[in-house]
Symmetry: C2
Amino acid sequence: MEVFTDLVEQLRRRGERLTPQRRLVLEILQNSEQHLSAEAIARAIVLRYPNLQIDQATIYRTLKWLHQHDLVSETSLGGNHMVYSLLSAHHNHHHLVCDQCHTVIEVEPELLVPVAAALQERYGFQARLAHISLFGTCAACRLQDEGEV
Amino acid sequence: MEVFTDLVEQLRRRGERLTPQRRLVLEILQNSEQHLSAEAIARAIVLRYPNLQIDQATIYRTLKWLHQHDLVSETSLGGNHMVYSLLSAHHNHHHLVCDQCHTVIEVEPELLVPVAAALQERYGFQARLAHISLFGTCAACRLQDEGEV
DNA sequence: AATACAGCTGCAACTATTCGCACGAGGTCG
DNA sequence: CGACCTCGTGCGAATAGTTGCAGCTGTATT
């Protein structure tokens, strides 16, 4: 896979160590189109390599490491766990999460571009605006609320 | 305290039950200018009423309940715990959290108003935009990074 | 190919938060 | 003012994620 070697190269150039565990997590993320939880990643690993085992702490540490290197996003979608996904330029987006029905609407990344620009300009702050979640009430639930009142 | 009775009235009107525990949490939040963690609230309660005791699960449930009723904000500032504060119109703001030095910069709530408007218009989504945290790198850390490279 | 060492890994304990359940107490109605 | 019903509370166990530590392994160097 090109993407894979590409990421590996990127990390190696930064002087980062590439252990089998890290490659594994990277491989799983790369083969998934969706956001994955740490547990889902663990399950995917044993599914693909039933004789391997990798500690959950290592998975969490690897995800945090990938996040620090801006290779994966770490997002809350309102559940009690975080979800992770590779930061490929193509699939970036943000999330609108309905507090009531938990529906997730994906919105285009451009939404927050002006915000990023403003923060950069006014505070010199370089925001990491990828896969942000915003919580609130979706149109359907709002209508229903009004009906009930 | 006016604010207090005001909030209590607001909740009562919505048909919510006001237990001593809930009043207690509300009172603590109301007397603090800062964001408080669940644990800090628990400590504040025993400090003020040493003979009372209130279960931590209850504190969490109360905070969630207040959040659902849009009376408090629940925010992550990058640590491993959430912080809570009363949603009074005056003190609202958002947070820029530096991933490296963990400095928190407060920014005016107006920053996200256009975003809220866009979401409302395009998706009918009513976002809860109070005390949002955005993560990234602050000016100081970015300069330092460049120096090192 | 052997060395050295910083930086990983596994393990088990720990923190923050949530959940299930049985009991208790707010608020409403008569 | 007393009963009733619903909802909240305390308790203890469960879950997601983190941390300390001792041993192991990538990787640069030779």
